[in-house]
Amino acid sequence: MTDQAAIDAHGLSADEYRRLVEILGREPTSTELGIFSVMWSEHCSYKSSRRHLRRLPTEGPRVLQGPGENAGAVDIGDGLAAVFKIESHNHPSFIEPYQGAATGVGGIIRDIFTMGARPIALLDSLRFGEIEDGRGGTRAETVRLVDGVVAGIAGYGNSIGIPTVGGEAAFEPGYAGNPLVNVFCLGVAKAGRLAKGVASGAGNPVYYVGARTGRDGIHGATMASAEFDEQSADNRPAVQVGDPFMEKLLLEACLEVMETDALVGIQDMGAAGLTCSTCEMAARGGTGIDIDVSRVPQRETGMTPYEIMLSESQERMLLVVRRGRGAEVERVFDKWDLHAVRIGEVTGGGLLRVRDRGRVVAEIPNRELADAAPLYDRPTRYPAYLDEAQRLDLSALDVPPDPTRTWLDLLAAPVIASKRWIYRQYDHMVRTNTVALPGLGAAVVRIKGTGRALAMSVDGNGRYAWLDPREGGRLAVAEAARNVACAGAEPIGATNCLNFGNPERPEIMWQFVEAVDGIAEACRALGIPITGGNVSLYNETDGQAIDPTPVLGVVGVLDDAARVLTRLFPEAGLDVVLLGDAAPVAAGADGLGGSEYLKRAHGLVRGRPAPVDFDRERALQRLVVDAARRGMVCSAHDCAEGGLAVALAECCIESGGVGARVDLPGPAGPDDGFGVVRTLFGESPSRIIVSAAPAGRDGLLALARDRGVPAAAIGRTGGGRVTVSVAGEVVADAALNTAERAWATGLARHFEPAAVRGSAP
């Protein structure tokens, strides 16, 4: 009888253990216990989230691969597929920022090339605690984390030669004890030749290739699913060091092997390493796998079968090769100084059989192991904090005396300010496909050999989601898609990373369920299928959960790469046109709830985020994409954090001195003194600022009318100032270079030259 201590140590509940014994029909060996514990961990089994994820729309005419494989894929024309996914590496990045972030990048890249795709773009979605100390100074602890995480992403992505072309970075108290590091990767493959993580054909050899196995990250998978506390310090030996050079060799060698037809299936060894890859591949193939761990290349001496099966050493792949084709495959890996080692073969039996020098140490029905993990329908409860948090009483607040100062202060807010300090550390140009540089809106990479380009955006807002998880999910989809549309691209697919606290707490589970439903509604309404994603739960430190944070990654296609748009006003003398409602007044729609304005001007996180009207949103996005295709607009930028006034300034900043002068209707909403504030800083969605040649303006307005999208010419580009009036009266006015300085230094000012620990090893 396995003793209780061992069962607990493996994080298995009594029920789960009973289930395991049923499946085996006997008590497990220690190796088997380890195997079950990692496969049935939250991280690998999605046992709390799976039943809810089923509600996400995953089908569409372009979908070539939905959830279930290593990554999703959509048809982008020309016989090509875009393969993409987003992954979190939150816990490891908190324990060791540089290596945690670096190995996160390595992991998501493997997911992409495992599908037979050449990775061509990375985006990073980052969240940390406040970086401002509230006294004009800097929080050193945040700087240390940001510095390490950014250096880690740069260290891995730059070295392997995949450009990091975009992302987002936010700073909120809720992430102080638990930063979020989500990385998105996109690759391109021949539509007909997607590789699969499947083991079929009894007798086909199973190969191991890549880094040798060490004791790294043993129980990393269970760690990533266990709430963080002081004891986590003991997990430190679990930190892994990334080897981008090894992965570069693996990437090239694997893609070369896939050019041949000798490959049956391939999967990387990520969480739960050899265990997960063997049993998932066999489960997908309806087969079994028989391996001998003594053949696995090992970095350390005296490793037990248990350790070898659970190790999470990085940069390792598992391949199933057609019988008789092994030599061919070995030759390719040899060329790259890698050694493919045959560790076993596919069997008919449906059993995962693990041997050590021939002796069987584990024998598990792998379908059950992979798919019969217990699924939970965890209880949910409406959070106690919510009603109070959603109540926003402006009458209790002072109207800011000088909107221009508020405006400049918003431009300097770390979440809005230039992220140059971050993305200049990333090689965002390698592979010479980057047709829209970071910082200008969605990331856009061209597809050589076609006229097309792909636009990508990752977006989410934890503050919105905390105040209204469902709306937060809806808004995340809407904004990520809108960012893509603003580049002139039609959104065609999405992936998502769901970062939440401990799902065993009903209020957290409620947030999760609401957010998933919000994402599902939005994706249905906008016709954007979800092709995959990642769930990261237990994001808590000492009982303090993060803000619920659904992050969406949306991919769009531009049929003509030359028609790409950025946020920048290209020249003076253009008409500035606002697509969408200039002054949304409907109660609760003014966009002050949860706004950056409320946070900075009043220190409040309150109210409800303005809801998205998806008929309006869809029409708006189609309009801007069509206008871009027809060359009717010269630039496009959506209104996000900071509202219209900030968005307008962002159209001028870095444009090379092209200012703007606009006049907005309003003041909006009830006569409570906040009318101008609403108009300037309200964050209601579904609004895009475009510039157009005067000659084309009326055509654009007419097209908008046809599409039922409110549109108004609000001003002209040009001059060295950015000036906003409301109802003819100037309410905010600044020299462009003043605005630019505030925006350029808001984040960068917090960073001294690299700290030693943050810097590369």
Binding site: I95, E96, Q99, G129, R139, E141, A176, G177, A211, G214, R215, D216, A233, R236, P237, V239, Q240, V241, G242, D243, F245, M246, R299, E300, S313, D337, T541, A755, V756, R757, P761
Partner: protein
């Protein structure tokens, strides 16, 4: 006073750089170099009266800044002192407020 701080990856931590160097040396005909581990070496110039004081300061500095306690350990040597002390594991880094 001069102090040297050697920072090396903990034995349990994988050292890709070392591995790559060994491989390179192998292909250059230096197969007899069986293993290489790469670390950092800091030379500190310290205002201190005694070697002991210098060591104390160097140790504190190594612990707080030069070594990453998560994956590295360090060793301090001070000129005009006896044999080097054994490697130390830095104290756990301060956690977030």
């Amino acid at each position: 006073m001069r102090a040297g701080v050697f920072v090396t990856l903990k034995p349990s931590v994988f050292d890709p750089q070392g591995r790559t160097i060994v491989a390179a040396l192998g292909s250059m005909g230096y197969g007899s170099v069986r293993d290489v581990r790469q670390g950092k070496y800091f030379e500190l110039e310290i205002d201190a009266e005694t070697p002991e004081a210098a060591r104390a300061l160097a140790t504190e500095v190594a612990d707080r800044l030069l070594a990453n306690p998560v994956i590295e350990s360090y060793r301090v040597e001070v000129d005009g002192e006896g044999p080097p002390a054994p490697p130390v594991e830095p104290g756990r880094r301060v956690r977030v407020d």
